[in-house]
């Protein structure tokens, strides 16, 4: 027990590596690597597509397309951290989407009347509840009956896809409630420029307050503090990203016809030379961000998250420490199911229809997003922010390839290769850090 780290005052103190510097200011080198990879992908596609990738229009669509997978990836991180897997999320999305479609297009109109103001909310609640119940059920099989999660959720992949067909014997349900549709993005799902600025500023204020609060807390206990300049740089980067995202979303103009209707609906007159009205942030993107923040909070600040990670690190140790590991595992799957419910709402609203093939292959994109985002399949390691960034990387690759006209089979080949490559690089990186 006398062993300890060598005193930091070694002669080579001046020759500290870049990684040491990063550690001192507590910047996550891994995250920086991912952001760099994303930048390379974006710039590469922008060059290949002759400047069509980095346009407000494309980036806005990219953000909307990422939302559904990003929401599910947040839950998949926790599942994989506990050394398990969920292969059923794509099929569950299909099934939950069909039931939600049925609820709002047939059940609720019969009970409340067509286009009732509560329809959208009840539909979302139904989707989240159904997803949560399915997740809890699968989680109970895994946790209490000790059936391997791979098998339970492989069964789920088949069962829920079949179930999605059975709901309506394969018929597509459309259209969706008009208050439900904004969840999917599109023109009705853009919140407008002023609201976007307001939300952006609130987020910036929260970021600054959060950093200041954490710093004051560490100071009170007399712990080592990050250098002040690092805090300021961090805050500036985060706020800059938020402001930049809002600016881009706001500069994506609504089609002239829609803008004109909007102006005239407010009793204004359409000027001679036309008028540019921006989209602003999209509802599904805000929803995904809210889910990401909530899940990060759960993973890092709540007891439940601490238990999830300790189970991933050493299930026996967690149990011997008095953690009810089975219950925690079941709840992780329940949570995953609820997030699938939210994702099902986003997909269904985006398509403005519930189809039994919705979410096909999503399980693979979700798992890939989590793994590219640094979640270790060996368990115990992973971050929500990384997984959301991973989802953005995956979607960027796909959208980019569509934009430059790569055939679908080749798209799949590229995505597959990138996944394997990313995990290999991550392994090398981890080994070097020890």
């Amino acid at each position: 027990m006398t062993e300890s780290v060598p005193a930091p005052a070694t002669p080579s103190q001046d020759a500290k590596s870049f990684a040491d510097h990063l550690r001192a200011i507590e910047f996550d080198a891994r995250m920086i690597g991912m952001i760099a990879a994303l930048a390379v992908i974006w710039l590469g596609f922008n060059w290949l597509s002759g400047g069509a990738f980095l346009t407000p229009r494309n980036l806005w669509n990219l953000s909307v397309q990422t939302a559904s997978v990003a929401v599910m990836a947040c839950g998949m991180v926790l599942v994989i951290v506990t050394r398990n897997i969920d292969l059923s999320v794509g099929s569950m999305l299909g099934f939950v989407g069909m039931v939600t479609g049925l609820v709002q297009a047939q059940l609720l109109p019969g009970l409340l009347g067509f286009e009732h103001p509560a329809t959208w909310l009840l539909s979302i609640l139904a989707a989240v509840a159904l997803g949560g119940l399915i997740g809890l059920f699968q989680g109970a099989l895994i946790a209490y009956l000790a059936i391997p999660s791979f098998i339970v959720t492989l069964g789920g992949l088949l069962v829920w896809r079949g179930g999605a067909w059975w709901v309506t014997q394969g018929q597509t349900i459309a259209p969706m409630d008009s208050r439900f549709r904004p969840l999917g993005g599109g023109i009705e799902g853009a919140i407008g420029t002023s609201a976007s600025w307001a939300i952006g500023l609130v987020i910036c204020a929260l970021i600054v307050a959060g950093i200041a609060f954490a710093r004051r807390r560490r100071k009170r206990y007399g712990f080592a503090l990050r250098p002040l300049w690092a805090e300021i740089v961090l805050a500036a980067l985060a706020c800059g990203t938020v402001v930049g995202a809002v600016a881009i979303a706001n500069s994506y103009a609504l089609p002239a016809g829609v803008a004109r209707r909007l102006v005239e609906a407010k009793g204004g007159t359409w000027p001679e030379g036309g008028l540019t009205i921006g989209h602003g942030l999209a509802v599904p993107v805000l929803l995904a961000l809210a889910v990401g923040v909530a899940m990060s909070f759960l993973a890092r600040r709540l007891r439940f998250g601490r238990y999830v990670f300790s189970i991933g690190g050493n299930p026996e140790a967690a149990q011997l420490s008095g953690v009810n590991t089975r219950k925690v595992l079941m709840l992780v799957y329940g949570l995953m199911g609820m997030l699938v419910g939210i994702a099902a709402c986003i997909s269904t609203a985006r398509l403005n229809a519930a189809t039994n093939s919705a979410g096909q292959l999503d399980e693979l994109y979700v798992i890939a997003a989590a793994v590219i985002g640094g979640t270790s399949l060996a368990g115990g390691v992973g971050t929500i922010a990384g997984a959301m960034l991973g989802a953005l990387v995956m979607q960027s690759l796909q959208s980019g390839m569509v934009l430059i006209g790569v055939d679908t089979p080749l798209q799949n080949i590229v995505v597959g290769i990138v996944l394997v490559l990313a995990v290999w690089l991550d392994g090398l990186y981890r080994k070097r850090l020890g």
Binding site: E3, R300, R303, R306, N314, A318, S321, G322
Partner: protein, 259 residues
Amino acid sequence: MDMTTPLVEMREISIAFGGIKAVDHASVDLHAGEVVGLLGHNGAGKSTLIKILSGAYRADAGEIRIAGEPVAISSPRDAKRHGIETIYQTLALADNVDAAANIFLGRELLTAWGTLDDSAMEAETRKVMGRLNPHFRRFKEPVKALSGGQRQSVAIARAIYFNARVLIMDEPTAALGPAETKQVADLILELKKQGIGIFLISHDLHDVFDLADRVSVMKNGKVVGSAHVRDVTQDEVLGMIISGKCPPGAVAGPGALRS
């Protein structure tokens, strides 16, 4: 033997796994401020017996009394509630989280809003580690990055932080060098002075004779016998471990060789 009520009494404990009696009507006891060495070959049942006390296994039959009161221990949480803390041979640490997270695992300190109070936990960890291992600095790193001795001190810190009355140490020095072993020995003597009862499971007869007041020897799931260390020689105890022969200085148990 002193006549006060023992801190821990395990009476006629039995447990079987798939028809094999891992522990068979075993009885041991422990007084406050006493160190009892549990000895026996691999598979003699000593670790299993102790895991019943720490709540990892549930006994099929038998009774556990804490300070004279019969108690039901069916989970590690129950054991901890009765002040029974365990340092496992494997250390049972979650490798991917830091020292504070391990020490407070299952008993986290929370803020007024019900969130984890990481700063408070780190501060407490610094205090308790300062006592156990003053050179310890790596509070922010996952315990995977620590040396064997440092990991050991985290496991010990977790056991003693919560004011244990009974401490179970399963092979606490098996993975340690001589200097670290000495430190563990000093710690055991200090804890003993504070009135904590300690079950010490060890292969090392010398260790046990240096530290323990009494020894209980197990063989094939049964207690061969118990004795004060001053009443028996190391050779006699070795005989108990190997052949189950109970020397005159020891109280014979159900596992003693009948001649």
